[in-house]
Amino acid sequence: MNWLAFASILGAALAVSFGAIGPALAEGRAVASALDAIARQPEAASTISRTLFVGLAMIETTAIYCLVVALLLLFANPFV
């Protein structure tokens, strides 16, 4: 058993699993607030949803960073 490979796989799994928690909570809050705002002001729905999409993309980036780090560990690991 190669310990470096073991550590890399464990690190990748930990990065994705814990890295997904924060963005998931944040996206849930963002969507909930956006739905609240649309329910209050349906005429502003287009502006709100556009801002929501951009904001969601920004939040999602943190999860994507974790995914890329995990993939780097798995497929392009400089130490293995």
Binding site: R50, V54, A57, I64, L72
Partner: protein, 235 residues
Amino acid sequence: MTAPLTTEPLFTLGPVSISAPVVVTWALMALLLAGSVLATRRLALKPSTLQAALEMVVETIDGQIRDIMQAEPGPYRAFIGTLFIYILLANWSSLMPGVEPPTAHLETDAALALLVFLAVILFGIRANGPLGYLKSFAAPTVLMIPLNLVETITRSLSLVVRLFGNVMSGVFVIGIVLSLAGLFVPIPLMALDLLTGAVQAYIFAVLAAVFIAGTISEGRPDAAENLQTSERKTP
């Protein structure tokens, strides 16, 4: 299944090795170019069906740019519209069997983000002059210069990683599911992939517009003061 971060050369053209994403990009460029040339060859005042559809696309893009940038879309339509349509087509090119989206490779996304990086500088200089553009780094205060410099780099980097991560993860997940379960199982995932591709194309274009608009408005002399005086005048 090949690793998502490597690119295999498809064939060599003299000393240059050409990979599959480059070929797909060329095909998409040729398709877009030929399509635009053919579709706009006979423009009439009373539009045909095709021309009406094209006008609708252009007007939608114009409306979005106007909403986001609070400016007339004329100078920005070509760049942002082309970015959007190209990334949309590239993300959806996975619909064709055997074609992998070029945006699922880091190099294509890096090239697109580099274009945005250069376009921000170009539009900033064109709008405010070189000094005005440099002054936009010192907005709102001089203390923000290092942060603004870092932000210029990191936001381009996050553009790359966002588009790459989303599209590549879609392709990757479909590959894994396809190797696990056979015929019809990946279809819902592919549908989700189409949605993600469209949203990511939209977001890339919107963020490019936001960056350009931010540079233009920050470098404008006394933008904040003008805003305050106009607010004072309106009531």
